[in-house]
């Protein structure tokens, strides 16, 4: 019985989000039947969603740790540039991809070390790496795109399998694997505990610093993966890729139930958060809104969600629950 109660409790936000998404989609397909459900609309909006989804999954883990990763956008750009340079210089595809994943993970591990052993505030540490790697990307490219990539490589991001874009499949796979692992692995239990209180975790014999490094490394790895996929999708590396993507990832994760203070969050919630932001964005565009509004919209939704969270906490406090 206890188990049941818990499941119901967890599904509260999941349910709200699912219903909202379904209602939005229903309303849109009623109001704009001729365009909303067309293959080109769904396809184009889903591909833009994929990068946000992969990044938001990593961000969820970092938020669970009570931290934040502002460097994911620049990691995407830097990885795309380095991988494209390697390929341009004639490196074989598989080693180039592995190098890209390694770079992403390495920057993540650096973030984790700065926050953990270095004791820097997550905001400050990742703000630093954000500038460093965005800047390095521009240094490496002098602002030009790195093009001339082999066709075998661009096929990854442009190709399809069973009629579905590879990008969507990869993002779905990443989300599914994490959604299965997060509630089960002992590692993620430690992540939750470190996020709830680093000092209590330390006294409980949990190596908080290692957990922080591992969490950031995962986020960096996924950002590296996004960088490779983006380079493949657009057949180039570019220092200007993924500007502001970290804000969107944070927004999606928080809408999905993660809290900035740490100790909370779920991959399933984040997936729904990503979808909701995408549906709202798409609706906006369908009604003739400018696509440039995307970042602003996710920002507005983030603030709105945080506001609702504050109201909820206040209510719980009044009831004497906290």
């Amino acid at each position: 019985m206890e188990e049941q109660k818990k499941k119901l409790h967890v599904s509260g936000r999941i349910l709200t989000l699912s219903v909202t998404i379904v209602v939005c989609v229903a309303v849109m397909s009623f109001l704009k039947p001729e365009t909303f459900f067309t293959v080109s609309n769904l396809g184009s909006s889903l591909t833009t969603v994929t990068f946000n989804l992969i990044l938001a999954c990593g961000m969820t883990v970092v938020l669970m740790l009570g931290c934040v990763d502002l460097s994911v956008g620049p990691i995407v750009a830097f990885t795309s540039v380095v991988v494209a340079k390697l390929l341009q210089g004639g490196a074989p595809i598989v080693p180039a991809i592995l190098a890209g994943l390694l770079i992403g993970s390495g920057i993540g591990a650096l973030n984790g070390t700065l926050v953990g052993y270095g004791g820097l505030a997550p905001f400050v540490a990742t703000l630093g790496t954000q500038s460093v790697f965005r800047g390095l990307s521009y240094v490496l490219t002098s602002g030009y795109s790195v093009t001339g990539l082999p066709e075998g490589f661009s096929k990854i991001g442009q190709g399809t399998l069973w009629g579905i874009s590879n990008l969507i499949l990869i993002a779905a796979l990443v989300a599914a694997v994490l959604a299965l692992l997060v509630p089960r692995l002992a590692f993620f239990k430690r992540v939750y505990l470190v996020g709830t209180s680093r000092s209590v975790a330390f006294m409980s014999g949990i190596n908080s610093n290692l957990i922080l490094i591992a969490g950031y490394t995962l986020s960096g790895f996924l950002a590296g993966l996004s960088g490779i996929l983006m380079a493949s999708r657009y057949a180039m590396g570019n220092a200007g890729f993924a500007v502001g993507y970290e804000t969107q990832a944070i927004a999606a994760a928080v809408i999905g139930g993660a809290v900035m203070a740490g100790g909370e969050g779920s991959i399933l919630g984040t997936v729904l958060g990503v979808l909701l932001v995408a549906v709202v964005n798409n609706s906006f565009i369908q009604f003739g809104g400018n696509a440039e509004w995307q970042t602003a919209i996710s920002g507005i939704m983030l603030v709105f969600t945080l506001f609702i969270d504050v109201m909820r906490t206040r209510k719980a406090k009044r009831k004497g629950l906290i």
């Binding site: 206890e2 002992a186 505990l193 330390f202 409980s204 014999g205 629950l321």
Partner: protein, 502 residues
């Protein structure tokens, strides 16, 4: 009797359950009125109702015979009622004056704070309380006891005539408690203050109170005055049963070998030359006042803090622990006095808290958490320690202090310790849970565990320790065998003979 406050049939519900039911009591003008009861008896809830923080579901509060309605602490201030909470809320980086006048500093017509006037006013308030401190001093530089007095000054400065003190002595040493009591008496005598005082410690209640009211399970049991205020009577009313809380709990098993020996532990500015030996089946008590370096030396021993020099021998081998993780793996486990910051994950459910220090034991070969095995272990401790309410999925923070302490004990015991170090194991815990914990510690020692008990409560030390190590100002002042040891003998060791003779 001239009653300043009259509570009539106060009832308060949380989530459909009564935490206070039909509580009627009178507070006399100018008296020190203690409210006692076990954890969860409803003392704090009752005080929060009088202080305007909670609204009662039933009943009436009358002040000077007139019905008053309070919706928040500010309205309570207007009615002359102020509450000093258990947790300090002073701002370390502000001055004494700024703390006292937080949020209502006197300003000139341009909106700038009138620093000089504020300091003068603060000095006057402190003076009336008999405290000589510079109002320009930063509060962070003061001792915890002084910070508490600043907190009281802040509340008193609202021109109140009813002062509520919610467990004001829990982090004070005996000397500081004596100072606090002097201040309370002075407030009553010179300012005609009425003081309502909440405490767990019966000897303090006896020392200061004119009258004592007892709550049990949200019900009002009765009020004692004068000669009636005796420890056994109060205990009887609180738990409904006669319990002996003082006599020595003797070991039932013979003493075992030395398992851990610490020699000459030093950390600059904190403690020096701390040495002791822990035996299986025995309890070593460490007694000392706040700031004696007890907790600090243990934190360094288990690797949570730096250790400058010293030798630790464990099971015959020299070791140097570099983190609590290593200590726990070796079977040296520490139960903290700081439950909120170092002990429990308050927003997390009980089960996560209990398994937090032994996650490795509940991890399968595939690196997943073995939820069934963990659930069984947690359930076992909930039953064994009678944690109330007995469910696994409520956040630890929603439990009363005594039950939180039981959760902390479950977490520590689940790691299967060989050396158990408990720091103030009954701090902020009611007398019933205290007895349970005392008997549990003796049973654990009898089962072969070496127990190290840090406590500032002498009766607790004398009741449980086979030997007592006395520490003062970072040094060991003596190792005493507990053969009919008296409080006087221990105190003599704390201060050294000279000071006692004076």
């Amino acid at each position: 009797m001239d009653a300043i406050l009259k509570l009539e049939g106060i009832g308060k519900m949380f989530g459909g359950n009564y935490v206070l039911k039909d509580v009627s009591l009178e507070i006399g003008r100018g008296e020190v009125h203690a409210v006692i009861g076990e954890n969860g008896a409803g003392k704090s809830t009752l005080m929060k109702i009088i202080g305007g923080i909670y609204e009662p579901n039933e009943g009436v509060i009358r002040k000077n015979g007139e019905k008053i309605l309070l919706h928040n602490a500010i309205e309570a201030y207007k009615q002359g009622i102020g509450i000093v909470h258990q947790e300090l809320s002073v701002a370390d980086n502000l001055t004494i004056a700024e703390n006292i006048f937080a949020g209502r500093q006197p300003v000139n017509r341009f909106g700038f704070v009138r620093e000089k006037q504020m300091c003068e006013d603060a000095g006057k308030i402190l003076g009336e309380m008999g405290i000589r401190l510079d109002p320009r001093e930063k509060v962070g530089n003061l001792s915890v006891a002084m910070q508490q007095i600043i907190e009281i000054a802040k509340v008193v400065s609202h021109r109140i005539d009813v002062l509520i003190l919610d467990e004001p002595t829990s982090s004070l040493s005996n000397k500081e408690i004596a100072h606090l009591f002097e201040l309370v008496r002075r407030l009553c005598r010179e300012q005609g203050m009425t003081v309502i005082f909440i405490s767990h410690k019966l000897d303090e209640v006896m020392a200061i109170s004119d009258r004592v009211s007892v709550l049990r399970n949200g019900n009002f049991i009765g009020t004692l005055s004068g000669e009636e205020i005796t420890a056994s009577r109060m205990i009887h009313m609180m738990v409904g049963d006669q319990l002996d809380s003082r006599s020595f709990l003797a070991p039932k098993t013979p003493e075992g070998e030395v398992i851990l020996r610490a020699e000459g532990l030093c950390r600059e500015g904190k403690f020096r030359d701390v040495s002791f030996a822990l035996q299986k089946n025995r309890i070593l008590g460490i007694f000392g006042l706040i700031g004696a370096g007890r907790t600090e030396s243990i934190l360094s021993l288990i690797g949570a803090d730096r250790l400058d020099s010293g030798r630790v021998t464990y099971e015959g081998r020299e070791i140097r622990l570099s983190s609590p993780k290593e200590a726990i793996a070796k079977g040296i486990v520490y139960l903290t006095e700081n439950r909120r910051d170092l002990g429990l994950f308050l927003p997390k459910e009980i089960s996560d808290n209990v398994i937090a220090a032994s996650l490795g034991a509940f991890t399968t070969k595939r690196h997943t958490v073995d939820r069934k095995k963990a659930g069984e272990a947690v359930e076992g401790y909930i039953q064994k320690l009678k944690i109330q309410p007995p469910v696994m999925d409520k956040p630890a923070g929603t439990y009363s202090g005594g039950n939180q302490q039981k959760i902390l004990f479950s977490k520590v015991l689940l790691t299967d310790p060989k050396v158990l170090i408990v720091d103030e194991p009954t701090k902020g815990v009611d007398i019933g849970v205290k007895m349970t914990i005392h008997h549990m510690l003796r049973d654990l020692a009898d089962s072969g565990i070496a127990v190290l008990l840090i406590s500032s409560e002498l009766p607790e030390i004398l009741k449980l320790s086979d030997r007592v190590l006395v520490m003062h100002e970072g040094e060991c002042r003596g190792l005493l065998e507990n053969r009919d040891l008296t409080e006087r003998e221990v105190m003599a060791a704390v201060y050294g003979e000279k000071e006692v003779q004076q």
